[in-house]
């Protein structure tokens, strides 16, 4: 443990302060030659790890259809109530599908609970983190924006299978 000093413990040289300024400047000067810890963001992109919780997306199967069966569990668990699901029937094997699936990206807090409870592995968090809107309407993402080919989110699905 280093020495804990109070006012009375200061030596004469520390009290006159000038040598201490020089020492401090030397220390700060030294860090100029250390490797930089910052990233120059727009030029250098941050590549998130597989565990990253970015924008939630719907998984699209190879046949171009969504996995979601519109059970509504994600919209039930969503803490900020950002998800809206409207179900309908389909002649396919899974019987139900979402006619409307909307996530309000202004409300979303990226907690990952929708993915946590989904019984079909149909909604997962992508690595997408650059979200900007110019109006509130634009921020409501419908199925057209949410559906993502399974290949793009394979990374995340592998992570979920391994660690969750």
């Amino acid at each position: 443990m280093s020495l804990r000093r109070r006012k009375k413990d200061l030596t004469f040289w520390e009290k006159i302060y000038i040598p201490e300024i020089v020492k401090g400047l030397a220390l700060t000067l030294k860090t100029m030659f250390k490797p930089k810890y910052t990233v120059e963001y727009p030029e250098v992109k941050f590549i998130p790890p597989a565990s990253y919780r970015g924008r939630p997306v719907l998984v699209m199967e190879e046949n171009g259809k969504e996995r979601c069966v519109a059970c509504g569990l994600c919209s039930r668990v969503c803490p900020p109530l950002a998800i809206f699901v409207q179900a309908a029937e389909t002649p396919d094997e899974k019987e139900r599908y979402p006619v409307k699936f909307e996530i309000n990206m202004i409300r979303c807090i990226f907690c990952g609970f929708c993915e946590d409870v989904c019984p079909e592995e149909a909604i997962v968090m992508s690595k997408d983190y650059e979200l900007a809107f110019s109006s509130r309407e634009e921020a409501i993402y419908g199925k057209d924006k949410l559906l993502t080919p399974i290949k793009q989110v394979q990374d995340r699905i592998n992570f979920l299978r391994q660690y969750k």
Partner: protein, 417 residues
């Protein structure tokens, strides 16, 4: 500049300010004594803390902190959502150590429900608690140094904290609002990359902290501004209900990790840091030493971490394993039941507290056997520590206000709930 009138101050605050006899009148502010309004939009009050100071010249006669500018009603919100859904909201209490709050909340719910997480999950919780303590103390030290005029330290401690945030990025998938713990365990197992990063961080942390210390410990300006400023005696600290570094800086050896061990803290070897002076400098020393102790503890946790499950397998209480939800009917039903109706703990009430970086963070939950708490009370350390401000301020100068506020390190998200 507009003059402060009687209408700008709540009558109760005015009464508290004026309790001592004086010749003061509000309209005639500069005549004898004056009232200075500091905050809520003041860069040195660590958020939206408003301080009303009654000044005689430059000496503070009385000080009344006014809280509530960041009140979001989390205690009320908790009554309207399930125990599970409240986890992300705890992130936003003490936003400098969100994982500590996550752990505190799930420990309270587990105590209420009567379940216990598997050992590996508990070790992971301990690991994240200690790392978030380091992160929080680093911000506290940096911001404190900046409050009294040393800018460089802030940049260096933020660089160190950035490394911890990078660990969260790999471990939880988010840097700031982590939402990592779950009732009965943690969200996901700790990855080898995250462990490697923790190891790397701990190895280089000591040297980097020493560098920050070198800038401050022999610095005459820093010491003279803090030595003997904002003294709280041990008795006053206990009477006011102060906890955390503020209490231990006054020489009271009280740390919940030692006093009432939760998780596996009884197996850990660590010292409870105390300094007996009780001034701002002592609180700074406590934080620096505690960060070192936490780093020491992280090493122990890493070496002791057992293998195994990270989430309890308990129907009706804990969300089932994902792989089983996909394939088995029972677990699928369980998944739906827990999300729709909650975990329904037995009726009763509990109080569970952990040692947050700021002090004792407790959750008092009353359950009527439903999926949501009937009442939830948050005992937040920053709120209680702010009660010490009037006592610490009395008799000091206006310029000491920022030092004193910085030394108790309040986070307004937590103080206002």
């Amino acid at each position: 500049m507009e003059k402060l009138t009687k209408d700008d101050i709540h009558p109760k605050i005015l009464e508290a300010l004026m309790r001592t006899e004086s010749r003061y009148t509000v309209e005639d502010a500069l005549e004898n004594e004056m009232i200075l309004n500091m905050g809520p939009q003041h860069p040195a009050t660590h958020g939206v803390l408003r301080l009303l100071l009654r000044l005689d010249g430059e000496t503070i006669v009385a000080c009344v902190p006014e809280l509530g500018y960041l009140h979001r009603g989390y205690e009320k919100m908790a009554e309207n959502m399930s125990f599970y859904e409240f986890i992300p909201h705890t992130d936003r209490l003490d936003y400098l150590a969100p994982l500590s709050n996550n752990v505190a909340w799930v420990l309270a719910v587990e105590k209420l429900t009567g379940i216990e997480a598997p050992p590996r999950a508990q070790y992971i919780r301990m690991l994240i608690c200690e790392l978030s303590r380091i992160a929080s103390h680093l911000v506290a030290i940096g911001a404190f140094a900046m409050d009294v005029g040393a800018m460089t330290v802030l940049l260096w401690t933020f660089r160190e904290r950035e490394k911890i945030l990078d660990i969260w990025d790999i471990l939880c998938g988010a840097r700031f609002t982590n939402t990592y713990t779950r009732v009965g365990g943690v969200a996901n197992d700790i990855q080898p990359e995250a462990l490697a990063k923790v190891n790397w961080f701990i190895d280089q942390f000591d040297d980097n902290l020493k560098e920050c210390e070198q800038l401050l410990n022999k610095n005459r300006i820093f010491i003279e501004r803090l030595d003997g400023v904002g003294i709280v005696s041990a008795k006053d600290a206990i009477d006011l209900g102060l906890t955390g570094p503020t209490l231990r800086g006054s020489g009271v050896e009280y740390d919940l990790r030692r006093a009432k061990p939760y998780l596996f803290y009884n197996e850990m070897d660590f010292n409870v840091i105390t300094y007996k002076e009780g001034d701002c400098l002592a609180r700074y020393f406590v934080r620096i030493d505690e960060a070192r102790e936490s780093a020491k503890m992280v090493r122990q946790i890493l070496s002791k971490m057992p293998q195994g499950e990270v989430r309890l397998n308990s129907a009706k209480k804990v969300l089932p394993n994902k792989a089983e939800v996909y394939t088995k009917m029972e677990e699928l039903i369980q998944d739906f039941m827990i999300v729709n109706f909650g975990i329904n703990p037995p009726a009763g009430e509990i109080y569970s507290a952990i040692e947050n970086p700021k002090g004792e963070l407790g959750f008092y939950i009353v359950s009527k056997g439903e999926g949501h708490p009937w009442k939830c009370k948050i005992r937040s350390p920053s709120f209680c520590n702010c009660q010490g401000l009037p006592l610490m301020m009395k008799g000091h100068m206006v310029s000491d206000v920022v030092a004193i506020v910085g030394s108790i390190d309040p986070v307004m998200g937590e103080a206002d709930k």
